[in-house]
């Protein structure tokens, strides 16, 4: 799976209104603040914020072994503008169902359209919270609408990323992963 589709959508979003002009004039400042953009603490803070506020639960970084469930759920939200890339959420079936249940107050026994919708929204909020941690990025980087993929035996490919953050988290007794892939900074 390549990121071209979500990236194009995010670029189109970021060029609406006056955003494109700001992108041009502020190009130097984001390149100079790349250390701030790639600070791994921003991702942890974003995950904690989204899970506490929207699900009412805590989650923590988990360096242990991740889910080996054959069925997985992946949501992708593309970044476009000063920074291009994507925020990727990935979990097994069980974690996806539990997250959707907390989010909606409903019960699920399969990864149906509502679960996929909920996971897409979680990824959307993670992407928004993460880019909101860096002021220049918040104003000059658009988000695509989420794309959600379910199935097994698939991989996400990014060619020569500028940087990548990949963190695993534990939520109740399940786990999930969040990846920020940046393949271009202007």
């Amino acid at each position: 799976m390549l990121l071209n589709g979500v990236r194009k959508a995010a670029i189109a979003t970021s060029r609406g209104g006056s955003g494109y002009e700001m992108e041009r004039t502020m190009a130097i400042s984001l390149r100079e603040s790349v250390q701030q953009v790639s600070d791994p603490r921003n991702l942890d803070a974003s995950v904690e914020e989204v899970f506490q506020m929207m699900l009412g639960v805590n989650c923590r970084r988990d360096p242990g072994p991740q889910s080996t469930e054959p069925e997985s759920v992946t949501a992708v939200v593309g970044f476009g503008g000063l920074l291009s890339g994507a925020c990727v959420f990935n979990s097994g079936r069980e974690a996806a169902i539990r997250i959707a249940a907390h989010l909606t107050g409903m019960e699920f026994d399969e990864v149906d359209d509502t679960v996929k919708d909920g996971i897409g929204e979680i990824c959307n909020m993670l992407a928004g919270a993460w880019k909101g941690k860096v002021p220049n990025l918040a104003a000059n980087c658009g988000l695509s609408v989420p794309a959600v993929i379910t199935g097994s035996d698939y991989k996400l490919h990014v060619q020569a990323p500028e940087f990548q953050l990949h963190h695993a988290y534990r939520f109740e007794d399940t786990s999930f992963e969040v990846t920020i892939v940046c393949d271009g900074i202007q």
């Binding site: 914020e49 929207m54 989010l103 909020m125 928004g128 909101g132 104003a139």
Partner: protein, 127 residues
């Protein structure tokens, strides 16, 4: 409180339900909710229903929330009805664009029910 009729516009059905739940938790009761999955659908609802409050996402396919806002004003739909944007976009530039397009309030995702109460209730009470 008299019955409040709210239009919630978001391409995510899950997010529409979360916003509805937050409105009820904020004390908007009795509450009648109309839902729309895009700005285009939201305009159709406003052509046939009277509402007291509009809450809209910004980043949506087909017609985004800012264009939806501009169309509400251009077509003189729901005059005087407060509009609150609920979105992941949180920069000052996005807030400015929303206000210039006619929004009275702005809530950033993720949000708590308390934040919805703080930003929505004063607008409903003043309307």
């Amino acid at each position: 409180m008299s019955e409040i009729r709210a239009l919630i516009v978001d391409d995510s059905s899950v997010m529409r339900k979360i916003v509805e739940r937050s409105l009820r938790q904020a004390g908007l009761d009795p509450l009648v909710v109309y839902e729309a999955g895009s700005g285009t659908d939201g305009l159709e609802v406003l052509k046939s229903k009277q509402v007291d409050l509009i809450l809209s996402d910004i980043n949506m396919p087909s017609m985004d929330g800012l264009e939806f806002l501009r169309q509400i004003r251009a077509q003189n739909l729901a005059p005087g009805v407060p509009v609150v944007m609920i979105t992941t976009e949180s920069s000052e530039e996005h807030v400015k664009q929303a206000i210039l397009s006619g929004a009275q309030g702005y809530i950033r995702k993720p949000f708590t029910a308390e934040q919805v109460k703080e930003r929505v209730l004063p607008l409903v009470n003043a309307a």
